[in-house]
Each structure stands twice: as structure tokens, then as C-alpha cells.
Symmetry: C2
Subunit: 444 residues, 2 copies
């Protein structure tokens, strides 16, 4: 069955309320696909399906649902015994994500009844966007005194309950990490070899407080499937796996693109109308202020426009092209900061590069516009003013597009907050000032 046929088929099953067939149908699907189908159902249907599905499938599907669909809230409406069953089947990090959505009282109520509630509670205490907030405590740890054979027996014991562990952590009696070893190397080694002869230093470790973006950077830099997380006493307390990192990268990308366009990062891409209005209106109102500033420059030069009314037609060209060039420089610089590991000195050189780009592109665009102006208006001086305004504004635009994010980064502020809206406001201001100021000085 094609993915788009699944929904209608499910609807026909739901109408018949045939528990057996619904169960059987879902059992043939991956939890991620079940989650997609659940997202298209109404709340009563979701609750009914979750109550009849095999527990493992129900809990994994719940974990795969989009955050925007608030899967955690379903836990408050299901039968408490069923909630216990579902939470017991979940990986601890998935359980923490679901329960973390609830209000404090509901959290306490769910956590007090479920098995392992204390451990989930501990995970909930780490801030959401840190290694602690995304890690799982389920990992394979083998004592450093073991041989490879003993380690394999230990792994067989520990791994029975675990989906994928990727690497095996070797710890001493204080819980400090002595190294990692892959199952592959253990299987290939002689059973009698001490495990410490097979361990390697992991290429990177992170601490519980590490920002999730940095966790992703370390894991992706060293091509690790999972990365260990240590507490302030350097004891191994969890691990983050590549699939969490892929989710983080997706979320951070969305955040960067939305911020770039001045949309609050609280807006869910799949969110509703009300949320969209709430998240965007404050930015637009703030921008009304900066736009008024640009408008006041025009207001100030009213007499100039009154004398040469065609300037009103040139104004948006100068301002708009500046906005576009500034947005280009901003996008490249913000992205460069996000992906390239560079020193601050190297970064500042980017500003120089962008100014040169602005100088060249501004000269070309200014030249084209001057020729057009000369052709239309027949006045060389008019062409010169237009060219100088365009040239100047492109230099301002390129400088601002590169300088602002690098400056913010050097202050420790996320450079992605340098949204294109504010660069555009600046290039409007500069463009009007250059064009009208030069015109009033040279043409009147």
C-alpha cells in the first residue's frame, strides 16, 4: 500500500471499529509510520488506537509523533495502568520528552506512579537544549578489569533490554570512563585478552551541560554513532546517539531559517494560525519602528523630492538592491559561522571580503543604473548621484551583512538573531540618506 493510501484505509477500519483488523494493520507498520497515521486522527481515535495496540508499538509510535501534536498530553487522558505500561516500554529519553511536555502537577502525577519515575525525573532536570536534556542513561558499561570474553557475557546480560548500543563504554570502579570498544572489536578479539588492551580513547566526550548544537558538531566531526556524556565529576552518566543529533540538526536549521526571516523560534513550522500571528506580529511591530526611521529620512528631504519627483521612483531601487545585497552577505556569513570552525581573526577577515564584494557589485549595478538614468533623464549629474548612492549603499549592505553576525558571535550572542529584517531596515535608511542627501547637495 502506498503511504498516501494508508490514511483512507485506516479510516475505513476505524468506521468498522474492528479492533482485530486495526491491530493487525498497525502491526505491519514501522512506529514512525504509525505515528504519521496517529497525527491525522482526532484525539478520541488516537486514544482508542493507543489502548488497543501492542504496548511496545504503541509506546514507540507515541515517541515518534511530532512535538507539535502534543503526544505527551495523550498520557494524561489514557488509563493510568496503560500509561505505566507505555512509559515502562519507552527509552528513558523518550519518556522524559513526553512527560516534559506536561505541566508540573501532571508531571508529578505521572512520575509518581510509573516504574523508573525517579530516573526520568533526573533527566527532566537538565535544560532541554543540553547534552543532559537529549541523552539517554541506557548504555552498556563494562568494568575495566574484565577480559573480552567476560565483557561479552556482561554485554549479553545488559543488552537484552536495549535497542542499539553502538559502542561499549569501559569504566573503572568510580564510574570514570577508561575508553570505548566496539562490539565488532570484542567479537574479533581472543576471549582471554584484557579489555583494556582493546579499548580506545573516544575522539570526543561531552558534559551534561554542553549545548546540543556542540554535541551535534562533535559527533558529526568525528563520525561517531554515539557520544558519551559525563557529569561534572567526570563520571559517565549517559550517551547521545546519531539519531538524536539528526533531530537536533533539523530543529536548529529550522530555528536558523526562521530567525533569519524574523519569525520567533517558538513558532512550530506545522503550527496553527493563532500561533503564527503571535510569533510574527511583535517582530513586525518592532520593524515598524525601524521603517519609520527610514521614512523620516525621506520626510526630512521632502523639498528635494518636491523639486525632483523622479527621485521617488529611484528610491526603492537603491534601497531594495541594498537590502538584497545585505541579505546575501548575511546568509553566507551566518552559515559560515554555523559550519566552519574558525578563529575570530579569520572571521573578521570575512568582513573585508564582503566589503570588496560590495565595492565590485555596487560599481556594476550603479553603472547600469547611471546609464539608464542618463538615457531616461539625459542629465550626467543625475546619473552620477544615482550611481554613487547605489555604490555606497551596496558597501554599507555588504559590511553590515558580515559585520553584524560576527560581532554578535564575538559577544557570545547567537548570530542567527541578526535577521534580514534589520539589515534591510539599515539599508533602507542608508539608501534614502545617500540618494536624497547627494541629490540635495549636487542637483539642487
Amino acid at each position: 500500500m502506498k503511504p498516501e493510501e494508508r490514511g483512507p484505509y485506516l479510516q475505513s477500519l476505524l468506521e468498522q471499529k474492528s479492533t482485530g483488523e486495526v491491530r493487525e494493520y498497525f502491526a505491519s507498520l514501522h512506529p514512525s509510520d504509525v505515528a504519521d497515521l496517529l497525527e491525522d486522527l482526532n484525539e478520541d481515535e488516537r486514544l482508542w488506537v493507543l489502548s488497543i495496540l501492542p504496548t511496545e508499538l504503541a509506546s514507540e509510535s507515541l515517541a515518534e509523533m511530532e512535538e507539535a501534536e502534543h503526544p505527551g498530553e495523550l498520557l494524561t487522558r489514557l488509563d493510568p495502568d496503560r500509561v505505566d505500561e507505555l512509559v515502562a516500554e519507552l527509552a528513558d529519553d523518550d519518556a522524559a520528552d513526553l512527560i516534559g511536555e506536561l505541566g508540573p502537577e501532571e508531571q508529578a502525577r505521572v512520575l509518581s506512579t510509573v516504574e523508573g519515575g525517579d530516573e526520568i525525573q533526573e533527566l527532566l532536570e537538565y535544560p532541554e537544549e543540553t547534552a543532559g536534556g537529549i541523552m539517554t542513561r541506557d548504555l552498556i558499561a563494562v568494568p575495566s578489569g574484565h577480559t573480552c570474553g567476560e565483557a561479552l557475557d556482561e554485554i549479553r546480560r545488559q543488552a537484552a533490554e536495549m535497542e542499539d548500543f553502538y559502542s561499549i563504554f569501559v569504566t573503572d570502579r568510580n564510574g570514570n570512563l577508561r575508553g570505548v570498544v566496539s562490539l565488532q572489536d570484542l567479537v574479533l578479539a581472543q576471549p582471554g585478552t584484557p579489555i583494556l588492551e582493546e579499548v580506545e580513547d573516544p575522539p570526543a566526550l561531552v558534559s551534561v551541560e554542553t549545548d546540543q548544537e556542540d554535541v551535534g558538531r562533535a559527533l558529526s566531526r568525528y563520525n561517531m554513532a554515539s557520544i558519551g556524556v559525563v557529569d561534572p565529576l567526570n563520571r559517565l552518566v549517559g550517551r547521545v546517539t546519531f539519531d538524536d543529533v539528526i533531530d537536533v540538526i533539523e530543529a536548529e536549521t529550522t530555528e536558523d531559517i526562521l530567525r533569519f526571516a524574523a519569525v520567533s523560534d517558538e513558532e512550530e513550522v506545522r503550527g496553527g494560525t493563532r500561533e503564527a500571528i503571535r510569533s510574527r506580529l511583535p517582530w513586525l511591530i518592532a520593524n515598524l519602528g525601524t521603517a519609520a526611521l527610514a521614512a523620516s529620512v525621506v520626510w526630512y528631504y521632502q523639498d528635494t523630492i518636491d523639486a525632483i519627483v523622479t527621485l521617488a521612483a529611484v528610491m526603492p531601487i537603491i534601497a531594495g538592491m541594498g537590502g538584497n545585497a545585505g541579505t546575501q552577505a548575511l546568509a553566507v556569513t551566518v552559515r559560515r559561522i554555523a559550519v566552519a570552525d574558525e578563529s575570530l581573526t579569520e572571521r573578521w577577515r570575512v568582513v573585508g571580503k564582503e566589503v570588496v564584494v560590495g565595492l565590485v557589485n555596487g560599481l556594476v549595478l550603479g553603472g547600469i543604473l547611471a546609464l539608464a538614468g542618463l538615457f531616461l533623464a539625459g542629465q550626467p549629474m543625475y546619473g552620477l548621484v544615482v550611481m554613487m548612492a547605489m555604490w555606497g549603499n551596496l558597501i554599507v549592505a555588504s559590511f553590515a551583512g558580515a559585520f553584524i553576525p560576527i560581532f554578535l558571535e564575538s559577544l557570545g550572542v547567537d548570530p542567527a538573531v541578526a535577521s534580514s529584517i534589520f539589515v534591510t531596515a539599515l539599508t533602507d535608511l542608508a539608501g534614502f540618506f545617500l540618494l536624497l542627501g547627494l541629490a540635495s547637495a549636487l542637483l539642487l
Copy 2:
């Protein structure tokens, strides 16, 4: 040593030209860190370091270098015997990436001498952005007739040369995939169990022609560490691992953000000035045309501006706010298309949502501006014109920001080409037309 101290320390070692110390220093680092250091050296230094490093470290570091630094070209300047050694150590996909950078003649020359050249040649024949272009042919495949114990022996044989294999593919005599099994499950199983009792259907497979973005989507959707790649005859020919997918996601994100800001996706984020000018100037020149169109509306209404010159100051506010609201709607919609699996019907509903957002935000902003206009100019009719223009332009902006990318997607065009520049051009045009048209009809 902190990462930023590595460069200066290496420079001091290079000045002394002490082979032993340079080797020893690099041997303590991860290939990704060596790659970073190599990127800061000049070509002669790079070649010298690559010739003295242990072969495995040299080849892995070469594979980790940024594409923008053209590591492949180093292969054409190294001693041919050394090239053979380095390529022999590389994973086949990394070798194909490096050799793929070279011109056809150099490719043929390198491939004719190195071991396994034919296999690298085969990988090079797949388009770069497909599963075939990013996959490796190195994988563990076990005959479906084996027991778990026999399979483990087979894996020990095949895995000696391989870094990480994540899953074990089980194939029949025609090379068709019968299922996958994890090393973990094999180790836990009784040695005498037929392997077919332990295999599972993989949650997804891709074909050699699958676009790399879809490969990433499948792997991330089903949390797979590696995904099998099949040829048109459904034979297993390779696999793509999560680390390749993370690289793809990063590259695609950069592409989306740059396109959003109308920067050609050929521009490398870390590229030089000349490349930046070449990649951005064509977009700016194209936009000069759209800006001229908006300017012509102003030109057409010259008499209106001549009569009420303060309109020139209001123009950029109406146009600018429309541009910002359009950019917001565009960013959210483009990102929604990128991350959410939705039917086209669901997508079209997004246009409706955005129009409502525009209606509400436009009314609020128009209201604020009308009150300011009333206060400053004291004319109710003037306030009404300003309000209606703002309101109308925000509706146009929201509609365009959502409609354009969804329309492009429905035509099979990448919605990310709907750059903010063109939405801004449209809102300039609509803003000027609404403001000046209404003013000329109602105020003159």
C-alpha cells in the same frame, strides 16, 4: 593543547622541518583534527606532511578535508606510489569523492594505477547527489543459508578490513536482500540457529538513483545507522551510513539558506571574493529588473506624489513591511515543505492559514500606521488610505510567501528557489500600487 594552539605549534615544528616530531604530533590527533591543520598550510607544506604521515592517518585526513580546499588535487602532485598507498587505504566512497574532483584525464591516470580502480570508477559513474554517488560498496553480506555461528565466522573474515558496519545484510545467491540482522542479535543468538530466523525486514531501502535528500529522510525517519542501496535488479550494491547523511543534511541546509537569500548554491560558504561576486551579481542584476518594475509604478504616479509629497515617506514603510511579512511566510512555508511529509491538499491549506495571518497582522499594522498618520497629518481620509494599503499589501505578502513555494513544489521544482528577493520585489510592486493608486483615487 587547545585547538587554537595547534596551528602555531605546528608552524614551529614545520620551521624546524623535524620529520619525527611532526609525525609524532599528528599521530596523537584524530584525522578530522589533522585535516583542519592541513587546511591552514600552503600546498607545499600539505604535500610534505602527507608524504611523511603514517599512510592510514594521511589518507583519512585527506578524506576529512573540506571540499572547498580541493584535497583531490593533492593526489595529482604526490608521488604516484604514495598515491597508490593512500587510495588503497581509503574507503571506496572517500576515494571516489577525492578522485571525482579531478578532470577526466587526471581521473583516468590515477584510476589506471591504483588498486581497486575499477570499483572506484563504477562509483564515479553515479550522479553525485544520488544514493549511488554517496554510498560505499564495503558492507558485510552473509549468505541466507548460514547459521548464526557460521555468520559470525564469516563476519570475522569480512570485517577485518572495515571500520564500522552497523548492520549485517543477509542475501540470497542472486544478491537479493533477504533481510538485515544486527551484530548484537547475532551475538545473543544460539550459534546453531539459522540466520533467517534472526533477520528482520529493513524499515527502508533506497535505490542507486534515489536523491540524496530522500536517502537522508529515510534514514532519519527510521533512525537507521546505515541503509542498504539496491540496483535496478534489486541486488544489494552498497550502503549509506548516518555520517554521510549528516554531511548531506548540512550541505542541503547551506544550499537552502543561500538560495533563500538569492545566493547561487555554487558559492562555497568559505569561498573567496571572486567566487562570491560571480555567484551573487547575476541575481542582483536580475533583481534590478524587478526593482525597475516597482519603480515604474512610482514613476506612473509621479503627479500623485507631486501633489502629496509625504506619500514618498510612507511608500517605504508599506513596501518594507510587506517584504518582511512575505519573508516570514516564505521561510515558514519553505521549511514546512522541507521537514513535513504532507499531501498536496494539506499543503494548499497552508496558503489559507497564511492569508488569515496576513489579514490579522495587516489590520494591526495598518491601524497603528493610520493612527500615526491621523496624528501627524490630521486627515482621516489620509489615514484610511495608508491603512488600506498596508492591509492589502500584507495580504498579498502572506499569500505570495505561501503560494509561490507550494506552487513550485507541485510543479516538481525545488521550493527553495523561491528566494526572498522575488517575494520582496512583488511586495514592493503591490505596496506602491496600492498606496499610490488609492491615494490618487481618494485623496486627489
